[in-house]
């Protein structure tokens, strides 16, 4: 079989419609007689609602109804079964306490201000430590403790690891709240029909789990819930949970008998949407004099806010980085997930990995420094290797970590020419310029000016970090499966119906490439349907960089099934054996007999249109050979493949202002085999934008449970003008379990970025940044501290 489509830079199938402004997003859904719902949030972070008077709101012209906690179904919902649509006790400032439905959103908004509420204030708990202190008020009394969950993992023998260490380093880290900042804010349209069936137009990432969640929240059968996914204006983990506004919209529709739209404002998105958990982390790590790692010990305290989400499972990933990024003989990881009266938190791209990679890779750098070893060589000598199993039970099949590190080291050589012209590592053979680094795609060309032109207050440095991420699914639910069907119609056109979801990342196109390749048809002859739970087969959701691997395998299996049916009929029609046939260019051809062929269209028609005829309909279900981690030891092979990556950051630090400017970020990623290199680069470049923000600019500033910067001016994303040169290098290792050798890449672009930048800052000015984001104020404070210590 030729590789005509696999590995091609195929433009996204949905891109022309998006470029033309014709794509229908959640915000664009308009239904006849549609009403608008708005939500009233609590005025206090912790308070009992003792009286609510909605009569003035109800009398406002255009208001259809007002909903309050009295309208709640009796059931709780959410990952921790601790949530209800409307609260009679508010546990955070984002708690929904009432809702208004009106003919337009402005009237609904005005009506909110007419609802009178009397609160009885309860003590606030804004710090996890306070929440865990003796006698602290219980945020959810039925839970009996503010500690929702404690993770406690270990392998090997820490004491032995410590005793074998020539160097031991320890550091405390503080990690901030950050937000997904999807360009499209949260939105839903809900409609109950005459059968009391609910249809939800949604931007969720988990349509089938949401179907179940909604059935639980509303007390209706799951079979009565249909989720239609609109085009999604960004997801990044935001859509991994049920949120109260979804059952609220459903309740609003049921009460009014009309479709109801609930759309968040940008401010509401920041205040009431989920954030990445802030954490306090203490880490120790050691190594032998020869550079071999001995142990790691990390303990984390996560503020999960007032309600539990799937984001509470992120310590599983932090644990994976701690225990299994590089070969670590002895490791311990503990994490406490604690209820507070702060913001709700959730899953966000990387799912714990940007946090853990920051602290682990910062300590790797400190170990290399303590051992006086080259930071790249130190990492390579401890790197994970192919066909190995980590003590945690991760079965590593393909692994290109060493190659990723070598690739960014080659890029660093040219950076070093700028940073340390006098001690470039590998420049003996002459100057190595960027464009000569084999296979490196340079995606910007704002070249840093030469070192010797820099003023003395600007210091340059380079830093490295690696990443390990699941790349073959992640079994955090009892099934990690995906279903697919492939139909070939009587025009020879192919329709793939997949359980997985397009959230902008390009899965639709990658899956179409896999099916087109398998059936020997052009990409133009494929239609992908992936947005309706009434049509598509089950899938656990689009998360954990799993779609290319899992949905790709399912689509491949369905396409092979369809191809077998095509060959069965074609063999009869051509009078040859099935094993003599191959499919290409829309034809089934007989190998070794030139000119003997039949078109797909003819095969389909001849198969359909006869007595006892059959359709060509292939099916595929793929659930990877992985395990749920053991509930006590947390060990097990959670993914069928693991992706690896490394980044090199080149930075400038202004020692007068503390401002850090990233000049260049070289990113190398082992993706197995790139089905679509352009899409892979897009994932890495976009991931880098988030990683850069996490490192340097993004932080929800939260005081007393309130977000102080709920807008895009004060919550700073990297703009096109802020971005450094991003160099991407795809390392191909051809995973044995992946479709055409592919592994996932969706999250790795941003996971090592903060660590690479922090290490580069140290290289530049000799301060270890342990709190994110590394703002000018914090860098300046660290420089002052260093100077003070030097004077003492």
């Amino acid at each position: 079989m030729t590789d005509a489509l696999i590995g091609q830079r195929v433009p996204k199938l949905d891109a022309p419609s998006k470029a033309a402004g014709k794509t229908i997003y959640g915000h664009d859904v308009r239904l006849p007689s549609m009403l608008h719902g708005r939500i009233l949030y609590s005025r206090y972070a912790h308070a009992k609602i003792i009286r609510m008077d909605t009569s003035r709101a109800e009398k406002l012209r255009g208001v259809k109804c007002v909903l309050t906690p009295k309208d709640n179904p009796p059931h709780r919902f959410g990952y921790g079964k601790d949530n209800k649509p409307f609260k009679d006790i508010a546990r955070s400032l984002r708690d929904e306490i009432a809702g208004v439905v009106a003919t337009d959103a402005d009237i609904a908004e005005e009506a909110l201000s007419l609802i009178e509420v009397d609160y009885e204030l309860l003590p606030n708990i804004f710090s996890p430590r306070e929440a865990l202190s003796e006698g602290a008020l219980l945020i959810h009394p039925e839970h009996k403790s503010n500690l929702f969950q404690r993770y406690n993992y270990s392998h090997g023998d820490l004491a032995q690891g410590e005793s074998e260490s020539a160097v031991v380093v320890e550091e405390k880290f503080l990690l901030p709240y950050v937000s997904h900042v999807c360009m499209e804010t949260s939105v839903v349209v809900a409609q109950f029909d005459h059968r009391d069936h609910l249809t939800l137009w949604s931007t969720t990432q988990i349509p089938f789990l949401l179907q179940r969640d909604l059935s639980e929240a509303l007390g209706i059968p799951g079979s009565n819930v249909r989720i239609i996914q609109t085009a999604v204006g960004g997801a990044f983990g935001r859509g991994l949970d049920i949120y109260p506004y979804e059952p609220i919209a459903a309740l609003m529709s049921r009460k009014t008998g009309q479709p109801v739209r609930v759309a968040f404002s940008r401010e509401e998105e920041f205040l009431a949407g989920p954030a990445r958990q802030p954490a306090e982390v203490t880490v120790r790590a050691g190594a032998k004099a020869d550079g071999t790692l001995t142990f790691r010990d990390a303990s984390c305290m996560l503020d999960i806010g007032a309600y539990v989400s799937w984001g509470t499972v992120t310590p599983l990933v932090m644990m994976e980085t701690t225990a299994s990024l590089y070969q670590v003989p002895h490791a311990r990881f503990t994490a406490d997930c604690v209820y507070t009266n702060n913001l709700i938190t959730g899953a966000m791209r990387g799912y714990g990995n940007p946090q853990s990679t920051f602290f682990i890779e910062t300590l790797m750098d400190r170990l290399a420094e303590a051992l006086k070893m080259d930071p790249v060589n130190f990492r390579i000598m401890n790197a994970n290797v192919p066909n190995s199993e980590t003590p945690q039970g991760l079965v590593i099949t393909s692994c290109g970590l060493k190659e990723c590190l070598e690739a960014v080291a080659a890029s660093a050589d040219s950076a070093r020419m700028n940073v340390y012209p006098e001690r470039s590592r590998r420049n003996e053979g002459g100057r190595l310029v960027l464009s000569e680094v084999e296979g490196m795609t340079v995606t910007a060309n704002i070249k840093p000016s030469p070192f010797n032109l820099q003023p003395p207050h600007i210091k340059r440095g380079i830093g490295f970090a690696s990443t390990l991420n699941v790349g073959g699914g992640a079994r955090i639910y009892r099934s990690d499966g995906c279903g697919a069907t492939v139909k070939v119609d009587d025009f020879g056109h192919v329709t793939l119906v997949t359980g997985s979801t397009e959230i902008g990342q390009g899965s639709e196109t990658a899956l179409a490439q896999i099916v087109a390749q398998t059936l020997g048809v052009k990409i133009e002859n494929i239609t992908v349907l992936n947005s309706d739970t009434d049509i598509k087969p089950w899938d656990v959701g689009v998360h954990a960089s799993r779609t290319t691997f899992i949905a790709g395998n399912a689509a491949y299996l369905a396409a092979v099934d369809a191809r077998n049916q095509i060959f069965e009929t074609a063999a009869q029609l051509l009078g040859v054996g099935v094993d003599q046939l191959s499919a290409s260019a829309g034809q089934v051809t007989v190998r070794d007999e030139a000119g003997k062929s039949i078109s797909l269209e003819q095969v389909a028609r001849r198969r359909h249109f006869k007595e006892g005829g059959k359709v060509i309909l292939g099916e595929g279900w793929y659930d990877p050979p992985t395990q749920l981690v053991d509930k006590d030891t947390y060990k097990g092979n959670i993914s069928a493949a693991y992706g690896f990556g490394a980044q090199m950051a080149e930075v400038e630090v202004d020692i007068e202002t503390g401002k850090v400017r990233v000049l260049r970020l070289a990113c190398a990623n082992d993706v197995g085999h790139a089905i679509n290199p352009m899409a892979v680069e897009g994932q890495i470049e976009g991931g880098a934008q988030m990683g850069l923000g996490y490192a340097l600019t993004e932080e929800l500033i939260v005081k007393d449970g309130k977000v102080l910067n709920p807008d895009l001016l004060d919550y700073r994303l990297f703009t096109s003008a802020d971005m450094p040169i991003i160099e991407t290098r795809i390392i191909e290792t051809d995973d044995p379990g992946g479709p055409f050798g592919a592994k996932g890449v969706g999250e790795m672009g941003g996971t090592p970025t903060a660590a690479a930048i922090a290490n580069a800052i140290y290289d530049a000015v000799g301060v270890r940044m342990t709190q994110l984001p590394m703002t000018p104020e914090r860098v300046l404070a660290a420089l002052d501290e260093k100077e003070k210590r030097a004077r003492v």
């Binding site: 998006k18 470029a19 360009m183 499209e184 960004g234 404002s265 995606t443 897009g682 703009t719 096109s720």
Partner: protein, 155 residues
């Protein structure tokens, strides 16, 4: 209070009674069903609602429609000609500059404004011009690549 205004949108004169409080974005999306301009923030920070008014790129969420009686307005829906995407749109598709695509119409319009003003921008000029258009998916690399390729082709 309603005011009667005429907006010349993508070459068509659209006469419409509008509520004086409404932004141009409200009118485009809710009254004229031109949904290509997107509401990402409603405060002029994200650029997703960018359209071109009398030759200038503007964030339509920040403009009162009533102030623009008689204005010439170009939206993303007016970019394709004879069913063919505009070269800017085509470049964004082909270079991979579109992922979720929510920011794309704003970028299309602001790139048009850039190239109208400066047909041969340097990369740094393009990046600075587009700094008011936020994208959360692409890291901007392929968007900038698309801009540079269109500038190159128009040589």
């Amino acid at each position: 209070m309603k005011t009667l205004i005429t907006l010349n949108i993508n070459g068509d004169a659209r006469e419409i009674y509008i509520d004086a409080r409404r932004s141009l974005l409200d009118i485009l999306r809710d009254e004229l069903a031109l949904m290509g301009a997107h509401r990402g923030c409603d405060s002029g920070d994200c650029g997703a609602c960018t359209v071109i008014v009398n030759g200038q790129p503007v964030t339509s969420c920040m403009m009162l429609a009533a102030d623009w009686n008689g204005a010439e307005i170009l939206t993303v829906e007016g970019m394709a000609k004879d069913g063919q995407l505009h070269p800017i749109q085509r470049a964004l598709v082909e270079k991979g500059g579109i992922q979720c695509g929510f920011c794309t119409p704003g970028f299309v319009m602001n790139i048009k404004a850039l190239l109208d003003e400066n047909p041969k921008p340097t990369e740094a000029e393009a990046r600075a011009w587009l700094a008011g258009n936020l994208c959360r998916c692409t890291g901007y690399a392929k968007i900038i690549e698309a801009v540079m390729s269109v500038a190159e082709e128009s040589a």
